[in-house]
């Protein structure tokens, strides 16, 4: 397998790999990673669809990419996906998947046209004092010390940062900046999260530094991601006769070791309480989604909190069993045990049917949620919320079946260990109505109307005990490589498999690991599109310096005398050169 970029490889179709028709594939998990692996096996590997088997513990596909109208409860989304143009493998996947409505239109086409016609732009990124925009909104407010800390983190190696937490590399000034408020709430970073991952994000998304405050770089699907992304994938795969086995748990995979070789020889599963074993040969390729951040999710309703009790699910159990057979298969406990209590666990989907909430949303976002356009363009963060509540309102309708009088608002709280500002309880102890009340309080609804509006709405809280697992502090070797050294037929896919440079908590990471796994195990001879290389682009780096300094040119920076002399000499030296051109283009001079 090799990485590539550019159109030559992007538009090329690989030749059929040797013996592709003799291969079978067994995929653990029907989340995005598993579905993507199946598509790449068929499209790029030319493996017959009926030789691909997907095992899923749940009764429906999609994993974390949900969106459902639950008969007993209401509309539920555990999350919404912010996406960007440089999810290279993701768009490579969806260019080949037809939409449900029109076989001539790909999911990528639909997404591209939609986001051209209705681009993302946020005028209010953060509020406080019950609905008021923070006075410095739009500025990153990074001190010089904070910028130096960012640079220091970026220049450190991943080895140096093993098990280090974000709050071990940054000081108070950084945490008080709007940059941290915007960054942490947009990507769900907690202060105790992995510094390695923070570094990867800084590099991976350096091209977005200039749009952090308005989120204009983000792109969104037409409906929730289950309907807009998962359903078309399922239809494509079903049309290719892929075998889906739901309510089926993979309990163990036996891996045999000989000198320098590892080969999976047996798959143990439970399907509708019946135990089964499948014997494997080197022609049987196994793709395991190890770990899942939405496994063991519990659901509450308007009057009940989502239960806290949960079991350790099959994704962690299977990973543990694999890890016990080989140290190259990672350390699952690092990701699902000892998750800090000061973290995100709860998200809530509120469905409003009356008009009373609309003016408050309009006031904050400047947008009419009934217009059909993007409303919040990512989150609006409530700076003084004890739960650090974030509000996200997508294009309405967010579900195909949604009625015109229904408005869906998605809420999440990044801190679960504190009582709210209005509801004196931890978010984990709150019913849907109580979480909705806290939201209404923060957007400025008069207190005498709050209970009544929340009662009329239907709010469904979900408790996701592992939602922050991707970000747990980690070191090299905690996640297995996509294809561990010597593995003949076993690969790991999803956000707990290790691939260089890419960032977790993204759809792209799931698709990338799936592509890399298929290309390696099947020896597909085409480049995997590399992680977007903006961190190697001088123009982008210079531009990010301009934005990190709140749009100041180099001469406008608060430099001391000596630094000023140095800068003047430098600017003189580059006068009339190519360097002056690119510094000017980045607004630095």
């Amino acid at each position: 397998m090799y990485y590539s970029n550019g159109n030559y490889e992007a538009f090329a179709r690989p030749q059929k790999p040797a013996n592709a028709e003799d291969k079978s594939a067994y995929i653990v998990g029907s989340g995005l990673a598993g579905l993507a692996a199946a598509v790449f096996l068929i499209r790029d590997g030319q493996v017959p669809g009926n030789q691909i088997h997907i095992f899923e513990e749940l009764a429906l596909p999609g994993g974390s990419m949900d969106g459902i109208l639950n008969e007993q409860r209401s509309y539920i989304i555990r999350g919404g996906r912010e996406m960007e143009p440089h999810f290279e493998t993701l768009w490579d996947l969806f260019r080949s998947i037809p939409t449900l409505d029109d076989p001539e239109v790909s999911v990528l086409d639909e997404f591209y046209w939609l986001n051209k016609n209705d681009p993302s732009y946020s005028t209010t990124r953060a509020i406080e004092n019950r609905g008021k925009q923070i006075t410095t909104d739009g500025q990153l407010t990074l001190s010089r010390k904070a910028i130096e800390e960012i640079a220091k983190l970026v220049l450190a190696s991943e080895e140096q940062l093993g098990d280090v937490k974000i709050n071990e590399v940054f000081g108070t000034e950084f945490f008080k900046s709007n940059f941290w408020l915007y960054w942490s709430t947009m990507f769900a970073f907690e202060p105790w999260a992995s510094a390695v991952e923070m570094r990867r994000y800084l590099l991976r998304f350096v091209h977005h530094v200039g749009t952090l405050q308005n989120m204009s770089a983000l792109k969104f699907t037409k409906f929730n991601q289950y309907e807009s992304l998962i359903k078309p994938l399922i239809k494509f795969l079903e049309n290719k006769n892929v075998d889906f086995q739901y309510n089926t748990t993979v309990d163990n995979i036996i891996v045999e070791h000989s000198t320098e070789k590892k080969i999976a020889t047996e798959l143990d599963l439970t399907s509708s309480e019946e135990k089964k074993k499948i014997s494997l040969t080197a022609d049987d390729l196994i793709f395991v989604t190890n770990g899942s951040i939405t496994e063991s999710t519990t659901y509450g309703d308007n009057t009940h909190p989502a239960p806290k009790e949960h079991e350790i699910g099959p994704s962690w159990n299977l990973w543990e069993k694999l890890a016990s057979q080989d140290s190259d298969f990672g350390h699952p406990a690092k990701f699902y045990k000892n998750i800090p209590t000061a973290s995100w666990v709860i998200s809530t989907t509120c469905t409003f049917t009356d008009e009373r909430v609309i003016p408050y949303i309009k006031k904050i976002t400047g947008k009419d949620p009934r217009s059909g356009s993007i409303v919040t363009s990512g989150p609006v963060s409530i700076k003084d919320s004890n739960w650090l509540l974030g509000i996200s309102i997508s294009r309405q309708p967010h579900f195909q079946q949604q009625r015109s009088n229904e408005l869906i608002v998605w809420l999440y709280g990044l801190f679960s260990d504190q009582p709210g500002n209005y509801i004196q309880k931890k978010i984990t102890e709150c019913s849907g109505k109580e979480i909705c009340e806290e939201f209404l309080y923060h957007i400025g609804v008069p207190e005498n109307q709050i209970a009544n509006i929340a009662q009329a709405a239907n709010s469904i809280p979900v408790n996701m005990p592992y939602i922050t697992s991707y970000f747990m502090p980690r070191t090299t070797g905690d996640r297995p490589l996509v294809v561990p050294a010597g593995s003949q037929n076993l690969a790991f896919i999803g956000n707990f498999a290790e691939t260089p440079r890419d960032t977790v908590f993204t759809t792209e990471y799931s698709v990338r690991t799936a592509m890399e796994a298929v290309y390696q195990l099947l020896d597909v001879d085409r480049g995997v599109p590399e992680v977007f290389a903006s961190s190697f682009d001088l123009r982008t780096i210079l531009n990010s310096i301009y934005y990190l300094n709140d749009q100041k040119s180099l001469p406008e920076l608060p430099l001391n005398k000596l630094e000023k002399v140095g800068l003047d000499a430098f600017l003189k030296k580059i006068q009339g050169t190519y360097l002056e051109e690119i510094f000017k283009a980045a607004n630095l001079i």
């Binding site: 220049l155 108070t172 000034e173 945490f175 105790w192 209590t341 000061a342 004890n386 630094e563 360097l579």
Partner: protein
Amino acid sequence: MKKHTLFAASLIFVAGAAVGHLYGNKILRNRHCCKKSNNCCTVNSSKITAADPVYIRETETNGHGL
């Protein structure tokens, strides 16, 4: 200077300039006044207090609550 040496030199220069701003300051600061005087260059002037929002106060914990 030969053409290829010139090209290489300018590449190094470009890369140096990009990070130079961030790091030059730091080096200069260490060499000069900051070692002698507290207020010469930026110091961590900010402290976290009980009046700060929770998300800022939580940065001082190990993740297991305030």
